[in-house]
Symmetry: C2
Subunit: 362 residues, 2 copies
DNA sequence: GTGAAAGCGCTAACAG
DNA sequence: CTGTTAGCGCTTTCAC
């Protein structure tokens, strides 16, 4: 390359012997230009290797063509970064992985699927997707490095500082993902409550005779609250004996609470607020020799990987993360098209994955 | 909001009674402004809710502050998109998942980890990350929707049309991920060859007495070629009886080739070019009643989820995808800082995950 | 159908 | 330390 500077509309215009306005038209409204000029301009574009500058476009057109997606941070430990190897080959690490722990240090699939859905939806609508995942996404960072770059922002609940929502409102459209309805901003979430209710009704239909144990999540989690509400919905209109015990979404709590409970009573069904605690409960049941699903059926919630490989495989509920991503972008697009539209809140149905831990299929 | 237009430097300048240059300075070179003015300007910024416009910045500063990451498409089936539910709750889908197939329609974790690494590295360097994942990323799309938006582009090999590389070279820095060295562009890849060689040397050390079978990948895959080379490296300097059979990276091929081979001979080790075919081979061995790892050890390559949950769990090699993402961005940054630097090609060491299928630990 | 010209909002000399 | 000014590359009226 002789000139290191990228060619601009001016270069193309000169080369094609037209005005810059025509070059711009050819690229944006091809039908408003005569066939012959269009050809000529496109040929010049090709020959010069012209690539339109998005910043200039964005500035002139008052839109960036970019949507932002804000997800919780990943906590990538940069310390374990591997050094490149030389010609001789280098230091291959041998890891003892008999317990399967090494396989994947970054387990949370949720947000990755969100990215996929969002990316696909954005792309389809002609937008690019900017992904941000700060461990500590500070207010300043959002404002300075994100808000000014995008036409709209989709953010997983509790990743954006609350006051930002307010500042943003009316300026950059914002949709909240998987959280409570924000201050007038659009939102999309999974129907945790309805999903749990549906699951529990199914459980009531297939479980052996006996009481139901609900293994609740931490009281401060909105998800836990919604799921518990769903559980209550399902048992409310039925003649069931049930009790609830407090967990905290961990395997440990699930296991210990279950074990303690088993000392007093063997339930006919254990409905856990999430998979981790369900797996813990499963372990405790096994230790006590309780047959699952024969004597007691068990269900989880989330659809984490481990649920597929548990013994027995765990019946659970999967949130439609890809769909959440898609819908979030769609809401953004809707608001972009009609800034005055009413704030809207989408609730997406979940999928119940029927597996061995819950006995026969319906 | 009375004025729907976002405030600009002019608004802030007027409000703080300074010039726009000072506003700009406060934001970009705070130390070049007196304490008092800085305070005043920041107060105005805050009060007006000013957010700098990235397009204008990019245009004026000739840099966008954005890096692009191009990964293979996801093939999101938009047809299965779920409809939102109403107040009443909606149609929860019950899926028979006894075979575990429903759990995750989007299985390929590779690129997601890549995104993570890249995102973290880019962010750390003060860049935002634009992720593009077209199913059919056409040349035009890359040129029009990506190249003009970013300061540099990292692309998974074979996602970008070749001619684009040439056009791009010297303009937008480009690094190729997990592919051959491009036309002078930087590249980063996993040390497939070295990793396989290390794995195979380990296998030779622990396997029972007897011949080794190499289950090769498709001839047209660069990965397969590198792995096979690694295998040959490892057996070359050793007194081993071995043979190779052609597979195509699928479970089916792994199974069938293995089954056919078993009719003639029971190897003491099966080294497969990837996990899928290793799992197929594992199945065939089980069908024939060959004990793994007692009679025959087995290894895969890739570290897919299934390898952790196979019976026995599969010894395999994991590519450092997160690291690849990080390094790709680092290469980009390097070239951004020094456009004239020599093209460089990084090879990252892989991790060998020792699991049950390969017998005792070293 | 095409061209001239006026910005879009910001940065970075260059003066003062 | 602060202000003036000239663009950055493109889109878009508005004339012709």
């Amino acid at each position: 390359m002789l000139d290191d500077r990228s060619p601009t509309v001016y270069d193309v215009a000169r080369h094609a012997e037209v005005s810059i306005a025509t070059v711009s038209r050819v690229l944006r409204h091809p039908d408003k230009v005569s066939e012959t000029t269009r050809r000529r301009v496109l040929a010049s574009v090709e020959e010069l290797g012209y690539v339109p500058n998005a910043s200039a476009r964005g500035l002139a057109g008052r839109r960036t063509g970019v949507l932002g997606l804000l997800i919780p941070g990943h906590d990538i430990p940069t310390t374990s970064l591997r050094e490149p190897v030389g010609e001789e080959g280098g230091t291959v690490a041998f890891l003892d992985d008999r317990d399967g722990r090494q396989a994947d240090p970054y387990r949370n699939r949720y947000f990755e699927q969100l990215v996929r859905g969002a990316e696909a939806a954005a792309w389809k609508a002609g937008y690019a997707l900017l992904v941000a995942a700060g461990t500590s996404v500070s207010r300043d960072v959002v404002v300075h490095d994100l808000a000014g770059r995008v036409d709209g922002l989709a953010a997983v609940a509790r990743t954006v500082p609350e006051d930002l929502l307010l500042r943003s409102a009316g300026r950059t459209p914002l949709v909240t993902i998987a959280g409570e309805a924000g201050a007038g901003s659009d939102a999309v979430r999974a129907d945790n409550r309805g999903g749990m209710a549906a699951l529990v009704r199914h459980v009531l239909a297939v479980k052996p005779r006996g009481p139901v144990l609900y293994l609740a999540g931490p009281p401060d989690s909105p998800d836990a609250a919604a799921r518990e509400a769903g559980f209550r919905d399902a048992v409310a209109d039925r003649d069931v004996v049930w009790s609830a015990l407090l967990g905290d979404f961990t395997w440990r709590a699930g296991h210990d609470v279950m074990a303690a409970h088993l000392a007093r009573e063997v339930p006919a069904a254990v409905v856990a607020a999430n998979d981790q605690s369900a797996l813990g409960a499963l372990a405790a049941l096994r230790e006590s020799g309780v047959e699952v699903p024969g004597t007691c059926v068990v269900t989880g919630f989330d659809g984490i990987d481990e649920s597929r490989y548990a013994t027995p495989t765990l019946t659970t509920v999967r949130q439609p993360m890809v769909d959440l991503g898609i819908r979030a972008i769609e809401l953004l697009l809707r608001r972009l098209a009609d800034p005055g539209a009413d704030a809207c809140e989408l609730r997406l149905p979940v999928d119940v994955l029927l597996r061995q831990s819950c006995g026969p299929l319906p």
